[in-house]
């Protein structure tokens, strides 16, 4: 019985007897497929309006002027009638005869199509905003939106790096304030703010070490010692800076073998690169002893600070005798990862390395903020190893990180590391009955919990557990890293997860791990509920398709 003549009735679900049909679009309700811009756009469409008539010379400038007059008039300023002069006529451009003739092949979309394209793409991504993202060594913590708002203040976002310094005193002061926090939190002497990311920071530290050694006439030292558990960037950085890399073995409990390291020190060793807390999630208890030994042997200590979130506000690396450490602002200090960057990797230095730190940097001279660059470096920073990057570093990340730091304060940052470590230990002890925790017996972990693939059914590996977790609605942990543990699973919860979120993850990982131990074949084909099933990485590498190519014209294809 209908309520009105249209036949409308409230819905009442019926039992499904007909199976699930495939959709003609390939879409599944909220999960929408999206073609490439090259397939949906064309080179004639633009989503931007210009203040001129395209293709006309003189009209171009007149319309620009009219536009300008309109705008100024609205702002209450007297409209200007002056014209900046005649525009170039055809053939009178200043392009040296190099005007484009061939088409470029760049598709355009109208604004609504653009917004829809990228909105649909975004929905095929997992992000911290959506759920738990426990990637070990990546510190995927909540990214506060106040950071975004502050970074977009025109006073920071709309300022050119080469403006006269009198017009950018506030920007320089941001750099100076953040520098002060970083130096104080780490108990070091100085900081280089310009490195663009963690690996760039590592390079900064290693170049400072090399400059210091060369200044002492010890340039013959050619070896950097790196533990096997290190991030791949460490040996790659040392090699990039011209050093040979030698491994330092680990002890059975997952720490640097201090005795082996000491035995290797000598006049050919430039320094060591040690991650602390290390990538097994453990604090290097002997760090001070290692630093002292390296110094006694004439070398320097680089600390990879990727895991600073475990100790921020509780331990100052400067108290452990290190000489240089990079800080990933996109990890510990909550600037967004953005799908792979941008990052920011300031490097703190000891007194011994400070004279060799790179340019530029900001100094406070009686309330006036000064940018020390090549021009004036000779006055009191002649030992600097030079410039690493155009301009002054990742300002947009500095404003975000400073906003975060001021929000937390010294007390909040201490709570950050406490909760981060508490959460990791909770995961470790909640799951070590199900999964093998190779260093579980070594004692508490720091901010990440490490498991191995030991005990899984034959043919099952870490990747199967990771893909199973995707179906449970989680981003997987870091897989197959560190290299020192077979099938490593490195879980870093961070401090911004609630206990309820952790409990749900623990239940999911326990279930997936049990399926892997039991040899559940459905796990080998997971994920089943993601926008894509497992992708063929082998094919991608064997026949690389790195750019979109227009399909052959039909006539040609038919031949």
């Amino acid at each position: 019985m209908s309520i009105n003549q249209s036949g409308w009735r409230p819905t009442a679900p019926e039992a499904n007897t007909g199976g699930v049909p495939a959709s003609v679009t390939g879409n599944k309700a909220l999960m929408l497929e999206e073609a490439l811009i090259f397939e949906i756009g064309d080179t004639h469409t633009t989503g931007v309006d210009f203040e001129f008539l395209p293709g006309t010379g003189r009209g171009t400038i007149r319309r620009m002027v009219e536009g300008a007059v309109r705008e100024r008039a609205v702002l209450g300023k007297p409209p200007s009638t002056s014209c900046a002069g005649p525009p170039p006529r055809a053939g009178e451009d200043r392009l040296a005869g190099l005007s484009r003739t061939a088409p470029i092949g760049l598709p355009g979309l109208s604004e609504p199509e653009t917004v829809r394209h990228y909105t649909r793409l975004s929905r095929q991504n997992y992000g911290i905003d959506l759920g738990f993202f426990p990637l070990g060594s990546c510190t995927m913590k909540h990214n506060p939106r106040l950071n975004e708002k502050m970074a977009r203040l025109p006073g920071f976002s709309d300022v050119h790096p080469l403006q006269p310094v009198d017009t950018v005193q506030g920007a320089l002061e941001v750099i100076h304030q953040l520098a002060h926090w970083l130096v104080t939190l780490t108990g070091m002497t100085s900081v280089a703010m310009s490195p663009k990311a963690g690996a760039h920071g590592e390079l900064c530290g290693i170049l400072a070490i090399r400059a210091a050694l060369e200044a002492k006439g010890e340039g013959a030292r050619k070896i950097i010692l790196v533990p096997e558990s290190a991030h791949g960037t460490n040996p790659a950085t040392a090699a990039f800076a011209g050093y040979s890399v030698e491994d330092i073995p680990a002890t059975a409990e997952g720490r640097v073998d201090t005795a082996a390291l000491k035995a290797r020190l000598g006049p050919d060793v430039a320094g060591v690169m040690i991650t602390n807390p290390n990538t097994c999630g453990l604090f290097e208890r002997d760090m001070r002893e290692i630093s002292d030994a390296v110094h006694a042997a004439g070398g320097f200590v680089y600390c990879d600070g990727a895991n600073f979130n475990a100790i921020v506000g509780r331990v100052r690396p400067g108290d452990l005798g290190i000489d240089a450490m990079h800080i990933n602002l996109h990890k510990t200090f909550s600037t967004p990862h953005g799908g792979g960057g941008p990052g920011s990797g300031p490097v703190v230095f000891s007194e011994a390395l400070t004279p060799y730190a790179p340019l530029p940097f900001v100094e406070n001279r009686d309330g006036q903020f000064v940018l020390v660059e090549e021009e004036t470096a000779g006055e009191h920073h002649a030992g600097s190893f030079g410039r690493m990057v155009a301009f002054h570093g990742q300002m947009g990340m500095f404003t975000r990180a400073l906003t975060y730091i001021l929000s937390h304060g010294a007390d909040g940052l201490r709570q950050v590391s406490e909760d981060a470590v508490l959460n990791a230990n909770y995961i470790l002890r909640s799951l070590d009955d199900t999964l093998d925790a190779p260093f579980g017996p070594s004692g508490p972990c720091m901010h990440e919990a490490l498991f191995s693939d030991s005990g899984l059914a034959a043919g099952f590996s870490t990747i199967d557990i990771a893909k199973g977790l995707i179906d449970e609605g989680f981003h997987p942990m870091t897989m197959y890293f560190p290299l020192v543990v077979h099938g490593a699973m490195l879980v870093e919860p961070t401090e911004t997860e609630s206990k309820a979120a952790l409990d749900q993850f623990i239940a999911a990982l326990r279930s997936v791990a049990e399926r892997a131990k039991a040899g559940d074949p459905s796990l080998k084909t997971a994920p089943h509920f993601a926008p894509r099933a497992r992708l063929d990485e082998t094919l991608a590498a064997r026949k690389p398709v790195l750019v979109w190519k227009d399909p052959a014209p039909l006539a040609q294809a038919a031949e």
Partner: protein
């Protein structure tokens, strides 16, 4: 604290599961002497959102923004209008708060965007392929020099005098440590780029010639003779583009047979941001793809045969190859690449060409107006949206005086090349679609007054 969801009862319940009495027990491996007993003393305590906003806003207000002043700075960073939808889209949490797409099944959004970005960049630069972005133009430039060394197995690079001095400075810093030999010179205030001088320097030890296009003074030259000369000696031509909008108006370096083209992508989507973060562009010929640094996204299929995208050729990269990697780079500039790509999609080819036309027309008329000022000479024969003026006096104090009057007049060469007396009177002026005729007139009259 508003960013910490854990409650005190939660913490206690979790400690009980762990079997620890206190949080301090979890830090037992930290030597006693290195443990702080409370918050770092010299630093302030936590603050409300309102208090932090007040603090940061006060700092922001101390800067003169490009939008508030007649603005003419360029030299590697340009003020362009960025459509509002760009910033909206890059702030979607699924883009903003995602990590590097190492789990491709739940990162197709980032991966498809990177594939589109790579294609847009390759087409713009005129190269066969492009990577998923670098930190910025200056680091991309150095990576290209190192890549040329790997390919040619030669260690001498010739840097054009028109290459951005910060890019030269970065290369000099790195070369000190890698042992690469760099041939560098400062530019001269003359009308054209001197490619013949570069060509004469190429020899059998040369790995590459690095040339900026348009160059630091804004000049443009046909790169084909230079490419031919490089290839005759089996060296590579690396072209550096710091203003990608220019390629909407002029032939791309790739079309002129450059082997590697790198660039700074800041102009599209990213904004000035006081110098960073920006986005490095990196493209090259197909045959060199396995020597490229940085991440690459490639097309493939999933288990059900559906098209999908993954990070690929990772055997070049540090997390697989460690000390044998082509570069130590890990993080790239993903979100800035997204902004670039969205802006480029909004423009499309038609929009990019119109944008370039507006930029060039504005620059031509501004150059004419400014060079009418007595004593002021236009140095360039050719330019896109940036040109160099020779003033009758040192440009740096003039720029400062104009800044005091609220005019951001351009970049003085004295700032970029301190100590180079022959360049001290040079002023590089950039004009984009954001520059109004009134802005030009304001600059022209003030400049005339100061120079009188």
């Amino acid at each position: 604290m508003r960013y910490l969801p854990m409650t005190q009862p939660d913490r206690e319940a979790m400690l009980a599961v762990i079997g620890a009495a206190t949080i301090d027990d979890l830090f037992v491996d930290v030597p006693e002497a290195a443990r702080l007993d409370g918050p770092v003393r010299e630093l302030p305590m936590h603050a409300s959102e309102m208090a932090v906003e007040r603090h940061m806003s006060a700092l922001a207000k101390k800067n003169l923004t490009a939008g508030e002043a007649p603005f003419f700075l360029g030299c590697g960073a340009y003020k362009h209008h960025v459509p509002a939808s760009v910033d909206h889209l890059i702030q979607r949490g699924e883009f903003l708060t995602a990590y590097t797409p190492y789990q491709p099944e739940i990162a197709q959004g980032t991966l498809q965007m990177l594939f589109e970005f790579q294609t847009q960049v390759a087409r713009l630069l005129g190269t066969d392929v492009a990577n998923a972005s670098m930190y910025d133009g200056s680091t991309a430039c150095w990576e290209a020099i190192v890549m040329a060394r790997r390919i040619t197995k030669r260690g001498k690079a010739i840097l054009s005098s028109g290459l951005h001095p910060h890019y030269v400075s970065v290369a000099n810093t790195m070369a000190k440590f890698t042992g690469d030999v760099l041939d560098t010179t400062a530019p001269e205030l003359v009308a054209d780029m001197d490619l013949d001088q570069l060509i004469a320097k190429i020899d059998d030890d040369t790995s590459c010639v690095v040339v900026q296009y348009p160059d630091i003074l804004g000049r443009i030259a046909d790169l084909r003779p230079l490419a031919d000369a490089c290839h005759a000696k089996k060296a590579l031509l690396i072209a550096v583009v710091t203003e990608p909008v220019a390629l909407g108006a002029i032939t791309s370096p790739g079309e002129m047979d450059a082997d590697i083209v790198v660039g700074e992508g800041q102009s599209l989507g990213v904004g000035l941001q006081f110098g960073g973060p920006y986005v490095g562009l990196f493209g090259c010929k197909d045959k060199y793809v396995r020597q490229m640094p940085g991440r690459l996204c490639g097309e493939t299929v999933d288990a059900d045969g559906r098209r999908g995208f993954v990070l690929t050729l990772s055997t070049r990269e540090q997390h697989i190859r460690r000390e044998k990697a082509t570069s130590n780079i890990c993080t790239n500039s993903g979100l800035c690449a997204l902004a670039f790509s969205i802006h480029m999609t909004l423009l499309g080819e038609a929009g990019l060409r119109q944008l370039a036309e507006v930029n060039h027309a504005g620059a031509v008329s501004a150059a004419q107006r400014l060079s009418q000022i007595p004593g002021v000479e236009l140095v360039n024969d050719s330019f896109f949206n940036e040109f160099t003026l020779k003033l009758p006096t040192e440009a740096r104090p003039v720029v400062r005086t104009l800044a005091d009057r609220g005019i951001l007049a351009g970049v003085s060469l004295g700032r970029l090349y301190p100590g180079e007396d022959a360049l001290a009177n040079g002023l590089v002026v950039a004009v984009t679609e954001t520059t109004t005729a009134e802005d030009v007139e304001t600059l022209a009259s003030a400049l005339q007054e100061i120079l009188a």
